[in-house]
């Protein structure tokens, strides 16, 4: 705005247009380009009309344009209902409404539309940055609203912004209190429109070549963990998710096990669970996955309680919710370091973990048969067999890579005997295939492995790139044991996480640059830890502040303040505030009056109490009669004289200031 001598109306309207732009701008990221363009052109048009002092366009011109825009929304989304078209319509409505403002209530319509559009922005982004932008936008909106309330001269923009800032500052404590204390209701209140959630990546219930590699490239957070007990070392951080036992020659899928019963002591479906060793309590904040699987540290009894969700479990030790998880959930689990699962299972019942599709991988089948025969000859058990295969994997120099060569129809044969390059899904899948061929019940377990500890807030962040697959074999008398063939072939993957195990392609962008930094002490990784910690706190306290967390927090708060010290401190603070208030009030008194009040206190000590309504002149007369030293009397008389002059005589400013100074000095 170069021309500062804008008339009041113009400046006010331009401010409103600017506020509307601030509200709509974040939506440009997901609105169809033509809507963003229409909004921009409309706002620009409005600004131009304002600057030129032209009339607003008539309704017969606006109406067809608006109808055309609605048609455009329908064309773009194929519907007018739902979240995205709704937001698009609101954005267009706000822009057009600015062209159709005639009365004061139109102003409020614009402001209220703006507030609602601000809310819809959170469908798409709820980052810290969005929060900061929200506050800034609100202050500008408030400024626009205040501007229209002046009836006389309008103060400069800076002062109006300050007033809006003062309003926001006044509102902030109450807003925080409401945010923390207002009873939260767990949504949704009605069926969420289908498009409310975007697609997400994550572990799925099948594993075909390539599924894991896609995940491995994603830096997206899968979940965060806070350990309430000492955390196990990195190479023990196996986060169990989905168990895959069916193989059709290409894809591993779930069996769809029988539901797990809550009562562990009366398990009849052949699932027995003995837990021992030290317990590791951990709290998991799982991102919305659109899936139903819950992840826990191995090995956690599948009796999780997830607030607001019904949880079930299979006899393969998977925990899942009955509804897909659209939102973050938080739950606490207890893992045990020592465990035996189905140790006393009847070997005759293990058939489903020995099943192999006929007609695939003849070489591996032959190898399995040989191993089986060998073990029978030597009389060795399952454990020795597993060891033998693992040492074979180690010796044959398998290579761990995200870009394995293409495999043929007999993918396990190709991998084990030809390419020897693969990712955890190749290792785990091939290993289980070989185990089954050798007559050992085995299955694939998918989930995550590892995670990154943030030293700032103690949270372990597990990302999609930590997705992992490993194997479980059943050992008679000991139950299911975890075997990680990837660890045998590429131990660095397990010990230090994926980022070190893989030679990375040249990183692009900030995320790549940050991922490259693995030195824990570099400023870049400290910055990254700081950002992660802030993000996590934001997630935990702003985005996921659900009814359960609210209750916990309020209980904790009550425990923290429910002692004598807190009320005492509050009382002390209150007394201080009151004293400060009084002091300020005293100071605000006219200095002449304050001096007179001091004089009265002083005179009262001498036995000279002014009668109600007694003026300085009569006081001065009475003063003469007092037995006081002459110079003291003279000073007090002069005080009264000056006071009378200041109070009752018309003095110019110079005289006034001089007399007031003298007055103050006389009492010292």
């Amino acid at each position: 705005m170069k021309n500062l001598a804008l008339t009041r109306d113009k400046a006010d309207t331009l401010l409103l247009v600017a506020a509307a732009f601030m509200v709509i701008a974040p939506h440009f990221a997901h609105l169809p380009w033509w809507i963003s363009a229409t909004v921009c052109v409309t706002l620009f048009w409005r600004a131009l009309l304002t600057l030129r002092g032209r009339r607003l366009p008539p309704v017969w011109l606006l109406l067809p344009i608006a109808l055309l825009a609605i048609g455009g929304v329908w064309y773009s989304y194929r519907t007018l209902l739902g979240r995205d078209p709704g937001v698009a319509m609101l954005a267009l409505l706000l822009a057009f409404k600015l062209l159709e403002m005639h009365a004061r209530r139109d102003l409020f319509v614009v402001l209220f539309l703006s507030f609602f559009l601000l809310l819809t922005n959170f469908f798409y982004s709820q980052t810290i940055l969005t929060g900061v932008a929200m506050v800034a936008t609100i202050v500008v909106l408030l400024t626009a609203q205040i501007t229209f309330q002046y009836t006389g001269a309008v103060p400069p923009l800076g002062r109006r912004l300050r007033l809006a800032g003062k309003l926001a500052t006044l509102a902030a404590p109450l807003a925080a209190l409401l945010f923390v204390g207002f009873p939260r209701i767990q949504g949704p209140l009605w069926g969420m429109p289908g498009d409310a959630r975007g697609p997400r990546t994550g572990i799925s219930d099948s594993m075909a070549p390539g599924t894991m590699t896609n995940l491995a490239l994603s830096e997206e957070v899968a979940f965060r963990v806070r350990f309430l007990d000492p955390a196990p070392p990195q190479n023990r951080l196996y986060w169990r998710g989905v168990v895959l036992s069916n193989y059709d020659g290409r894809t591993w899928t779930r069996i769809g096990g029988t539901p797990y019963r809550r009562d562990i002591n009366r398990i009849t479906d052949g699932l027995t669970l003995r837990l021992g060793g030290s317990a590791i309590r951990h709290e998991i904040t799982l991102e919305g996955t659109q899936q139903r699987y819950l992840f826990t540290l191995e090995l956690t009894a599948p009796d999780l309680i997830v607030p607001g969700q019904r949880v079930s479990a299979s006899d393969e030790l998977e925990s899942y919710t009955l509804r897909p998880l659209h939102e973050r959930v938080r739950y606490t689990a207890v893992a045990h370091t020592d465990y035996a699962v189905q140790a006393d299972l009847d070997p005759a019942l293990t058939g489903k973990w020995l099943q192999l599709p006929p007609g695939f991988n003849p070489l591996t089948r032959a190898l399995g048969a040989r191993l089986h025969a060998l073990a029978g000859e030597r009389g060795s058990g399952t454990a020795e067999l597993v060891d033998a295969v693992l040492s074979m994997l180690r010796q044959r120099r398998f290579e761990y890579t995200l870009e394995p060569p293409l495999l043929g129809r007999n993918s396990v044969d190709d991998f084990l005997f030809r390419t020897r390059q693969g990712f955890c899904e190749h290792f785990a899948g091939s290993f289980v295939f070989l185990m089954r061929a050798a007559g050992v019940p085995a299955r694939v377990v998918t989930g995550y492995q590892g995670g990154e500890l943030n030293p700032l807030d103690g949270y372990v962040t597990v990302r999609q790139s930590d997705a992992h697959a490993w194997a479980e074999v059943w050992v008679p008398g000991r139950g299911w044991r975890r075997v990680d063939p990837t660890a045998a072939a590429a131990p660095e993957r397990i010990n230090s996480g994926l980022s070190r195990a893989l030679p990375r392609p040249a990183p692009f962008g900030l995320a790549g640059l940050m991922a490259l930094q693995n030195d824990k002490d570099s400023w870049l990784s400290r910055l990254r830890f700081g950002m992660n910690a802030a993000n996590n706190a934001w997630n935990q306290w702003v985005l996921d502040y659900n009814p359960e967390r609210q209750q916990n927090f309020l209980v904790e708060l009550w425990q923290a303040i429910g002692n004598w010290r807190t009320p005492a401190a509050a009382a002390l603070l209150g007394a201080l505030a009151w004293a400060g208030y009084r002091w300020r009030q005293r100071r605000a008194l006219d200095p002449v009056q304050a001096a007179y009040a001091r004089f009265c206190r002083h005179a009262a000590g001498l036995g000279l109490v002014p009668a109600p309504g007694e003026g300085p002149h009569s006081l001065a007369l009475r003063l003469r009669a007092l037995p006081l030293p002459e110079e003291r009397k003279a000073a007090l008389a002069e005080f009264l004289e000056l006071y009378g002059a200041l109070r009752y005589r018309a003095l110019d400013d110079d005289e006034r200031i001089r007399s007031a100074r003298r007055l103050a000095s006389l009492l010292r």
Binding site: F112, F122, Q126, T151, G152, A171, L174, A175, G187
Partner: protein
């Protein structure tokens, strides 16, 4: 910020709008805002938007802060009655009201106006003022004065919606003010009842026969007696003086405005209106006039004080407050 006005000894007739005297209610946009907040809350719940909750609560708290600031925008204002000049019936009575802001924050957009009982609360008040910190503002409020006599100021209502317009605060004040309303001057009143030796030129030339020289001008001398010829000779700008023609034997033109002389058949108000018009006529033509109304008798004189005394007597004739 929340400091009420410093207490000071109040001159009589002043009032401080303490917090207790300021009432506040949401305005129509304010209620719409409440609906909006509810919608936003439902949206935030349904989509579990953490930031949505934050926005809703923040917007709601802004409304609460607005309510506080709206009350504070008015609370602590000190009101004093200003001057009020007499008017003639049928004119608008003007009351000056002064608003003093003894606080440290500026008050903006305070509307005020007379608000006689029975007018709707939402009536738009005619005046809007800003009162900066430590300053005062004066507003002249008008009210029709249809009848002679004392007209007390109606109750004054003050409202404000500043800063956001979501809440309206209001307060009422009965100022201790009244104006004197003179009777309406009769439109086509008969000529002045000049008695004594009226000259052939008519009563307008009374006493001109007895021209007795000139003397220097004294305040109160009628303009028509200025000796223009002498003044023109040496204008006041050149050091000359205004001079007035001096007449002897003014007693010849005794002008007495006597209420008792008027036809008792006439309506009382009409008689008063005629007297009023005569007082104005006599003043306008600088004829000294004596005045008689009931027991009241003012000897012949001219000038604002005389005029005011006569009109006052007419205004209050037969009314409470003296004849």
């Amino acid at each position: 910020m929340f400091r009420p006005a410093v207490r000071k000894p109040e001159p009589s007739g002043a009032a401080v709008l303490t917090m207790r005297r300021v009432y506040v209610l949401p305005t129509r946009p304010g209620m719409a805002y409440a609906v909006l907040l509810l919608l936003m809350l439902i949206g935030a719940i349904n989509y579990t938007l953490g930031l949505g909750f934050a926005l809703t609560f923040f917007a709601g708290s802004c409304a609460v802060a607005d309510m506080v600031l709206t009350v504070m925008n008015m609370a602590g204002l000190r009101l004093t009655a200003g001057r009020a000049q007499p008017v003639f019936a049928g004119e608008e009575a003007q009351f000056e009201v002064q608003l003093h802001n003894d606080g440290t924050t500026d008050r903006h957009a305070v509307r005020l106006g007379f608000h006689p009982p029975g007018t709707p609360r939402t009536m738009e008040l005619p005046h809007a003022v800003d009162v900066p910190a430590g300053a005062s503002a004066a507003v002249v409020l008008t009210v029709p004065a249809p009848q002679r006599g004392w007209l007390p100021a109606p109750p004054v209502r003050l409202t404000t919606r500043f800063p956001l317009g979501l809440f309206g605060a209001w307060s009422n004040w009965q100022p201790d003010m009244r104006v004197l309303v003179y009777p309406f001057p009769e439109a086509d009143a008969p000529p002045l009842p000049v008695r004594g030796a009226a000259s052939a030129e008519g009563h307008g030339a009374v006493g001109l026969d007895n021209f007795a020289g000139i003397r220097s001008y004294q305040p109160g001398d009628p303009m028509r007696h200025l000796a223009w010829r002498q003044i023109a000779r040496l204008g006041p700008a050149d050091g000359g003086q205004l001079v007035t023609k001096h007449f002897d034997g003014g007693a010849v033109a005794e002008l007495l405005l006597d209420f008792g002389e008027l036809q008792p058949m006439l309506d009382l108000e009409l008689r008063l209106a005629r007297m009023t018009q005569w007082v104005l006529d006599a003043e306008g033509r600088a004829l000294p006039y004596a005045f008689r109304l009931g027991h009241l008798h003012y000897p012949a004189a001219l000038g604002d004080a005389h005029r005011a005394a006569c009109l006052r007597a007419l205004a209050l004739y037969g009314r409470e407050g003296g004849a």
